[in-house]
């Protein structure tokens, strides 16, 4: 890591503080904003600023993945999920925690923040990135070789886990859909419910 002049160092620190402030504010808004669609949107914005921190840490591929998956994928997925759940958008139906539960939650999270943040500040961590680190971060070919040649087995195991999760997700959706269709409920091990007569006549007319 080449030595930066003091002005650049100051600029980097100011950039970090700005990013950190924006991340914490948007993270808070993602949890506390009244409108849940906006909350999901703020989460996406927060995730893209976290990518800025990864860029400051000289890890551009992780920043790219962060933007592609968190900002582009997960926040969009949450927004679509909210749109599929119309009652989730109704603030009047939301159950608010009791003041006691809220206080306990606040105390616990403040305790986590204070203890771990205090430890992070007190412990004598290194203040500089060691030599040679950016070379690792810049080599996409090296990363691809590490992933697919040296550790291909682990990648395949992870891919299988993800595939299993997605297949399970689809199966859950299909099973639920199938249970709503009375004719084929028996295929899924649930006893077929007798269909009322007026429903039968409705279906026949359709």
């Amino acid at each position: 890591m080449q030595e930066l002049d003091p002005l650049l160092q100051l600029f980097e620190q100011v950039e970090f503080l700005l990013l950190a402030g924006i991340i914490l504010v948007f993270g808070y808004l993602a949890l506390e904003h009244k409108d849940i669609v906006y909350a999901a949107f703020f989460f996406g914005v927060m995730a893209s600023f976290v990518a800025g921190l990864f860029l400051l840490l000289e890890a551009p591929f992780i920043a790219g993945m962060q933007i592609a998956v968190y900002t582009g994928g997960i926040s969009a997925l949450i927004i679509f999920g909210v749109l599929l759940l119309p009652r989730a958008q109704d603030r009047t139906l939301e159950v608010l925690p009791s003041p006691r539960a809220r206080k306990i939650g606040l105390l616990l999270s403040a305790f986590v923040m204070a203890m771990s943040g205090g430890l992070a500040l007190v412990f004598p961590w290194s203040t500089d990135i060691p030599q040679g680190m950016p070379e690792y971060a810049q080599s996409l070919q090296g990363l691809a070789e590490w992933l697919w040649q040296s550790h291909g087995l682990y990648v395949q195991i992870i891919a299988l886990i993800i595939l299993t999760t997605l297949v399970g997700t689809l199966a859950l959706m299909k099973m639920e859909k199938a249970e709503t269709l009375k004719d084929i409920t028996a295929e899924f091990g649930v006893e077929a419910a007798p269909m009322p007569d007026d429903e039968k006549t409705e279906e026949a007319t359709n």
Binding site: V50, F54, A59, L108, S126, W146, E176
Partner: protein, 103 residues
Amino acid sequence: MVPLSWYLVVAFMLIGLGAYGMIVKRNLIRILIGAEIMGNGVNIALVAFAVYGGVFSYTPQGLVILVIAIAAAHTALALVLMLLYNRRYGHVDLGSPVQAEVK
């Protein structure tokens, strides 16, 4: 140069914020957002430790990339479970008074 401790403080604050969301909130979507915020904090801590600790080879990078990919899959699963919860109970709020009214 930004010291490692600054990154760790931000990471731990994000973890605390996510924990707050998961403990206090009753809406399942907000709980999921809280879990994702915690995940972001963990990723920042992992990368910062790896970069400043002098072990930033391909291992931490590959690890974080795989963690991000798994986060996407578990979000999809969580959303489907929420849809199922909504179909069964008609809402996505834990502890709602109408929770016992199964359709």
